[in-house]
Amino acid sequence: MRKIKPLGGDYVVIAVVALAAALSLILTLPGNTAGSTVVVNSPGGVSVYDLFEDAEFDVEGADGIVMTVVIKDGSVFAAESGCPDRLCVKTGKISRPGETIVCLPAHIIIGIEGKNEGGEHDFVAG
């Protein structure tokens, strides 16, 4: 009869995955520095906006999905989106460098960049 209890290897797997999660968390933690620009990466190309200049615009994504993006008081959020899961809207406001709003169905990523361009985090646009 086979065992029902977890085997030793199970704890190893859990430990490895938890360690990987903790490591990647440290590597991707949003910085505490203030962001300055908003980078919108969509199938139509990459566009950059000033984080401290209030704006509202539509971004056209894949499959004809349109997302309404609002920049207000130093933070960005997806106000409306035609995608099915609407996770981009649920993500809420982002304001720190390294934070992102991702819409998988529309192929849109909105990221915040800090004052020092590049190097700061792994945002490879293009």
Partner: protein, 184 residues
């Protein structure tokens, strides 16, 4: 320890069991698409269909599991997916199949369905993120990796426990059948 695949189960029996598991996997995929997730994690899924994959590995064979995985992904993309979601599921499905196959080939003695299920969920998420990074041509999606990995531990444990309960029930039923046949 002999598993059922070594007991000379005839090919039609294998085929019908695989087909039954495929049906179950498709139902689980559908169920999963009905449950809205409160977490703002793009690409995150409960991974219920993984239950069928691991049961297939345990009770039938790696080859049957490969057919199960390919058919499950293509049929569920046709039925409930979009062209984009097909690529994500293919990348995630391939990654999780490979990791489960490696565990069954080399480490099954040391790791139970629980650990295999967690590893498979983690690799599924990483495969999906890699596909997303290629489609978006941006590494920014990897910001979600830590949360997806933590979620894999929780939901991988749940699916792993379900796998183990099902496998145990099937083995017990087989043992009962064997003793009945011996008595006759």
């Amino acid at each position: 320890m002999t598993s059922s695949r070594d007991k000379g189960i005839s090919s039609p029996a294998k085929l019908s069991r695989t087909a039954m598991l495929l049906g179950a996997a498709l139902m689980l995929s559908y169920l999963e698409s009905l449950i809205p997730l409160p977490l703002p994690l793009p690409g995150f899924k409960l991974g219920l269909a993984n239950i069928a994959l691991i049961i297939c590995f345990e009770q039938i064979s790696p080859l049957s599991a490969l057919f199960l995985q390919i058919l499950r992904i293509s049929i569920s993309a046709l039925l409930f997916g979009s062209p984009t979601s097909l690529w994500f599921s293919l990348a995630g499905g391939a990654a999780s199949y490979i990791v489960v196959a490696l565990f069954y080939a080399f480490l099954r003695k040391y790791v139970s369905e629980l650990g295999i299920s967690i590893a498979s969920a983690a690799m599924h998420n990483m495969g999906q993120l890699a596909a997303a990074a290629i489609i978006f041509s941006s590494a920014a999606v990897f910001n979600y990796l830590p949360w997806l990995l933590f979620a894999s531990i929780i939901f991988g444990s749940i699916t792993g426990i379900i796998c183990r309960l099902v496998n145990k029930a099937v083995y017990e039923a087989e043992n009962r059948r064997k003793t009945v046949i011996e008595k006759i």
